[in-house]
Amino acid sequence: MGMTIAEKILAAHSGHNTLTPGQLIECKTDWVLCHEITTPAALRMLEERGMDRVFNPDQIVAVPDHSVPAMNIKAAQMYQKLKSWVKDKGIKHFYDVGRGGIAHVVLENTGLMKPGQTLVSGDSHTCNAGALGTFATGVGSTDLAGAIYAGMVWFKVPETMLIKVTGQTQPGVTPKDIVLEVIKRIGADGANYLVMEWVGDYIDNLDMEGRFTLANMAIEAGGKTGIVAVDDTTRAYMAERGVTPDQYTEYQSDPDAKYKVVVEVDASQVEPTVAYPHIPSNGRVAGSDHIAVTHAYVGSCTNGRISDLRDVARILKGNKVAEGVQMIVVPATQLIWKQAAQEGLLEIFVDAGASVSYPSCGACLGMHSGVLGPNDVCISSTNRNFVGRMGDPSAAIYLASPATVAASAVAGFISDPRAYNHTLGGAAD
C-alpha cells in the first residue's frame, strides 16, 4: 500500500521499509531545537539520572527566545542555564540574544533543517518546520531530554489528514485566513494525533513564508505536524541558503497513500477570518461585529516574518493607530528586524504610533513585553487565544492575519483589511 510523506520520513528514520499508522517506533532525530523555558528542566532530569550528555553537539540548535531579554531574575537564571550548557557541551549552533530571535523562525532561515529530516523541540510550534517537507513536532521536557541524550524519540506513527486548497484567494486574504478557516471547519482537536498534509494549486503557488504559517498552526487543530511536499519553491528557498538538492532527500506521498480524512478548501471563498475568544476554531469574518480593541499585536513564530511586516506597513503607511489602542510590532528575528529597517518598515510603524519591539515570543504567551491586563481586548497575529494566554484571564484575544490586525489598529475596532486593497501591488507589497 502507498505511504504518505510523514510515513516515509518516519520509516527512513526508524530502519523500516514500510510503516503502518498506529505502530510504535523508535525514531532518530536529525535535529533537536532547544529554548530556555523547557530545556533547563530536561537538563536537570538528565543530570539527576547521571545521563548528562548530548547525542551530537553539532545537531542541536539552541535559541533563547521566550523570556528574552530576561524579564526577571528567574528568567535570567534559565537563560544562564541554557547558555552554560551550550558552552559546556560545545553545542555548535547557538543563536544568542542579539543574534537570533524566535527559535522556529531562526531555524527555518538557517538552512540547517533540510527536507526529509526530523526535528523535535520542547515547544508545540515545532511543527512550523514541516513546511520544508520535514517531520517536525513538539514534545515535552522528558522527550526533549531523551532526544538530547540519545538522538531519538518514541512515536506512534500518525495517520494523515489531507488538506487540499484550490483556487486563489481574494486580494487581502492571506495564508493565516486559510488556516483559521480550516481550523474553524475541523475544530481545535480536528487533527488530534494526525499529520496535516497541505496540497493543491493554492499551496503550489504559495511562497515559503505562507507555508510556514500553515504548518505552524497545525498544533492549533491538535495536529502532530503540518507538512508541505518539496517543490521548486522549497528547492529555491534551500538554494538561497546554500543547500543543494543532493544534500537532502525529497519525499512525496504515493498516489495510493491512505488518508484518514480529506478536507477540501476553495481558497477563493475564504474571507479575512478572525478567531474569536477563547479557542482558535471560533472563526468569523473580520468586521462582522463591532468589536473595539485596546491592543493590536503583530509578531510570533506564526506571523512575524518580513511578508507579514510588509502587509502591516502598507496599511499603516500614512495612517495612525487609533487613540486608545496600543500597537506592538515584533519582528520575529534579528535578520527580519534588520530587513524591516532597511525597507523603511520600522519607520512606518513608528510614524503610525506603533511600538516596535525586539525579537522574542514576548506577549504571545503572556510572558512579557505587552502582557494584557484585566478586560483588555487584543487583535493579534499570534496563534492561540485561550483564556489567560496573553495575560489576565479576563482579557479577550482575537486571532487574525497581520493585515487584519493593522486595519483594526487604525480603525480602533476589528476591521476587514480589504478596505486597503488599493495599497496592494505597490513597492511595499
Binding site: G22, M51, K74, G122, G140, D189, G222
Partner: protein, 196 residues
C-alpha cells in the same frame, strides 16, 4: 476514598492548567501552587493527595509544557479521566508514568465532590454516591511499562529498540483524532487488563 474534581468543559488548555507566567520554575511543588489557576483559583485549596480529575475532551491542548502534568501531580491528582486528551499532554503523561485514562462517558457520571473507586484491573471507575460505574480504555502496554520503569528516560536507557517496537500503543484509545475513542478489540487489551 478519593474525591472527584469535575472540569466538564472541552478543550481545557495548558494556559489554564499552568499559565506561562509560572514557567520560570520546573519544581513540581512550586508549580502545584498554581495548578488550574486560570480556570479555578480555589482548586489547589480543595484538592487532596490521591484525588481524581474528570474533564471534558481534548484536555491539555495547546502548549507542549510538561509543567501541566507536573503541577497536577504535584497538587495531589493521582489520575485524570477524560473522553480523550490532546496529543502532547497525553505523551507527557505517559513519559511521567502519570495516569491519563480515556473514558467516553465519564463526565456525565460524576458531579464535583463525588467520591469514586478506581478499579484498574476491571477498567472501571465507580461513583460511590450513585453506584454507577463507567469503563475506561485499557492503558496501553507501553504506557504501563514506562510507568513500571520509572519514566521514559529510565525505560529508554534500559530497553532496546526491538523491545520498544514490540510494545503496543496501537490501542484505539490513543486515536483521539475526532474526539471519540474507537471500538475496543481484544488485541488492544493490555495483558492483565479486562473489560468491565
Amino acid at each position: 476514598m478519593p474525591r472527584v474534581h469535575v472540569f466538564a468543559r472541552d478543550h481545557i488548555n495548558t494556559d489554564e492548567i499552568i499559565p506561562a507566567r509560572y514557567l520560570t520554575t520546573d519544581i513540581e511543588s512550586e508549580l502545584a501552587k498554581f495548578a488550574m489557576e486560570d480556570y479555578d483559583k480555589d482548586f489547589v485549596n480543595r484538592v487532596k493527595p490521591g484525588d481524581i480529575m474528570v474533564t471534558g475532551a481534548d484536555f491539555g491542548c495547546g502548549s507542549s509544557r510538561e509543567h501541566a502534568v507536573w503541577c497536577l501531580r504535584g497538587a495531589g491528582v493521582s489520575v485524570i479521566l477524560a473522553p480523550n486528551f490532546a496529543r502532547i499532554f497525553y505523551r507527557n503523561a505517559i513519559n511521567n508514568g502519570f495516569l491519563a485514562l480515556e473514558s467516553e462517558d465519564v463526565v456525565a457520571a460524576f458531579e464535583d465532590g463525588d467520591e469514586a473507586e478506581l478499579d484498574m484491573e476491571a477498567g472501571k471507575i465507580t461513583n460511590q454516591r450513585t453506584g454507577q460505574s463507567v469503563t475506561f480504555q485499557p492503558v496501553p502496554q507501553f504506557a504501563l511499562d514506562v510507568k513500571a520503569a520509572g519514566g521514559w528516560l529510565e525505560y529508554m536507557r534500559d530497553h532496546s529498540k526491538a523491545e520498544l517496537e514490540d510494545e503496543t500503543l496501537s490501542a484505539e484509545s490513543t486515536e483521539a483524532g475526532h474526539g471519540h475513542p474507537g471500538h475496543d478489540s481484544d488485541e488492544n487489551l493490555a495483558p492483565g487488563t479486562q473489560r468491565a
